[in-house]
Symmetry: C2
Subunit: 495 residues, 2 copies
Amino acid sequence: MFEAAELGHKLSKEAFKEQEAGLRLRLLNCQLELGKSTSPVIIIVSGVQGAGKGAVVNRLNEWLDTRGLENWSFWEQSDEENERPKAWRYWRVLPARGTIGIFFGAWYNDVIDDAYLCMDDGRVETQLNRIDDLERMLSQDGAKFVKLWYHLPRKEQKDRLEQSTHDQQSYWNMAKEYTGRKKEYARFMSIAERIVRATDTGVAPWHIIEATDNNYRDIRTGELVCRALEEAIRGETGPAAQDVHDTVALGDTDVDDITVLDTVDLSQRLEKKEYRNRLAEMQGVLTELAWEAYRQQRACILVFEGWDAAGKGGAIRRVTQAVDARLRRTISVAAPTDEELAHHYLWRFWRYVPRAGHMRIFDRSWYGRVLVERVEGFATPLEWQAAYRQINSFEEQLTERGDVLLKFWVHISKEEQLNRFQLREQTPYKQHKITDEDWRNREKWDLYREAVDDMVSRTSTEFAPWYLIPGDNKRFARVEVITTVVRSLRKALGG
Amino acid sequence: MFEAAELGHKLSKEAFKEQEAGLRLRLLNCQLELGKSTSPVIIIVSGVQGAGKGAVVNRLNEWLDTRGLENWSFWEQSDEENERPKAWRYWRVLPARGTIGIFFGAWYNDVIDDAYLCMDDGRVETQLNRIDDLERMLSQDGAKFVKLWYHLPRKEQKDRLEQSTHDQQSYWNMAKEYTGRKKEYARFMSIAERIVRATDTGVAPWHIIEATDNNYRDIRTGELVCRALEEAIRGETGPAAQDVHDTVALGDTDVDDITVLDTVDLSQRLEKKEYRNRLAEMQGVLTELAWEAYRQQRACILVFEGWDAAGKGGAIRRVTQAVDARLRRTISVAAPTDEELAHHYLWRFWRYVPRAGHMRIFDRSWYGRVLVERVEGFATPLEWQAAYRQINSFEEQLTERGDVLLKFWVHISKEEQLNRFQLREQTPYKQHKITDEDWRNREKWDLYREAVDDMVSRTSTEFAPWYLIPGDNKRFARVEVITTVVRSLRKALGG
């Protein structure tokens, strides 16, 4: 979830200056308009230690008009607060309609602390429940949430924290909050992922912001706040927002246009001979592992998504060749049947949940909701935004019996796709594989790119990770996929 | 929560016959219309053992067209089901759009079982979370829920279960489900209350049906199903339903027009001398208890609601007289201030949550949301329907530190109110207490009566019970209130 945000986002000083000017003006105008609306705006600033949350808030205070803007941090509880229900300290400072409240951590501090201190699970779940209720209740009342999570790669955080011990000014960073946690980066991340996932709702989604470069961090923050203000002004909160949303621009374009797909090294290739050897080796192992999974009654679900002509089919075939036909089944997901249309969109996938010990391969999947349905407008923004959490919950249920769920995005460059399309048109036995729709989809490449970026960052979970497979070289992609399956199965089966 | 349903609802054979004919016709017509809509309807039949859930479902099958209607019970899990996530067995039988599915127990069986078997709290909370997600997700997709909880008073259940052991036909009732639970009525009720409360949402509310009289039980069921079908046909599901709801008739009038207020014995009175003695005694005890509560740092919140001129003020004064002024504060809730209007409706009450050890008295309260705001249309039906759960959650938070929260509805007859209104008009120093608004409210007596019935049955909880105080005799009411406060404080303080 968070790793997907490690894209090396950067903004030069000049680019920052240039964007800042326009952004400030927009922010101030929005704030003026907001004052006439009935929406309070709640900005929640959270994330890893050392990410510069304080600096971000200072920046927002510099950019916005301080009238109608209040900042709240929640450190030690006062005795007054201690004597009342936990939520009291948040309720007392909720912003009034037309104003903005910036909350450091807000109610997330408590639940992260409790989870970190291994409080019992019932308590943590109850708090997650209440957060969900609270945010839903307030947004139905008109509130607009901007939940910002600032992320740093492990190494970067370490460097910063070591630096800051020599730095008097950062006293608060060190002394307060998460002292001691720096050694437990992985554990903290795992807890944070659970909390963020559970509270990433349609009405109050999280935005994960890479905080390595300060310029990028601040401009990205300003952009997200500005968009939220615009939505609040247009009245796009509350349960009636669905209809309004239909008219909103789809994209959540980032300020520097880098997506998670840009991290994929497409130059990787395998020569024919090495390909043959490694494929044969992996297929041999997989055959055994599939039987072992059957003996241990562990199901295995593989999800394949990717660009048209990326080579999903070829990669799937290399897997299925190695698994006994009695143990596996491939589901090709195309347009839904009448019966499927008569149900909730997840129903058609619940149908195909495999029995214990079996492998099921989805050639396209429930991710259609946040890919094609989003891009083509078949799902409303409120629908596809709500889908991330629905999908995460679905996948959590699929895996909590110890089953394996792996998700592959087979990636190719736009040029490589063009080559393959043209080749298909010229090769008689491949012509059936290329249609007008493929060409139409290709025109929407950038919209899909954004959708994939959001999808990967919001649904890469510990229990169901995404693997981005470089597909320009088909041989490399096939071996990479089957190797990943083998590695994951081995780990799960303790082999 | 459930006790409030023990009203002795009854329907004669003739009344049943008469109502049945009309109901059947309406049901069939609705079902026909539903077939053209995009809403699936999910009827969940749950409740205590012996309440005749099977008989109810048979009746519905008799009344409805069996085409487009399916019944599902969820006893032993098949091995197929065992090998998949728990939710799979429900997803596989979800009704298609335009059809009706009757689910025995549905997903509530699992969570009740787990809570009953003392599975860890995290697991129970997670399931409650998932139920909430599932029902919300399906209703946003157009599904209409009818959740029916059949209740029997303790004695009635005992009689029935003893009867049924001699009755071959009831084999399933006895052998399956909750065998062994009959001895643990109280514990089962407490668990059921928690589950029902946690899942009593605006989009999928529970209806508690008294099942002692079969005729009443069946007609009431048919009525509720019929209304749900009508709502589904009008498209009143999903997030956009809010606007549509505004035009819907408010009341949830019961088939025999008995409400919880009819259980209050208004003939009870106290003579002057006994009143003086008992009041003095109770006030003396309360003075001590209030200081003891301060020493133990337990807060005490008293909520007073009731008809205009019911004598709330007088009852409150008898309490405050006994409590040191430094320890208590009375909040008279009138029209909200500008500042309060600029926040969520609960904000103004969160402000007044007392510190530890203090007593706070609310003369009218957050229940305005489901009383005046409901009756006057200040809150939309979706808003006030959602408020029951919001209020329950608020009160749960108020009490989980061990604080005491008591709620009083001071009840008077309509005639007594008239007497008091007239007396106020005739008595110079009382004239300020009677306004045109009081007379206007009086005209809406029946709407308020329904609202009170719903309020009491849906927000009487273990941690924050309602007390219905007979108010026709002011002396009786005052002593009853203060005695209840004393009894509850004593229990809480272990005195």
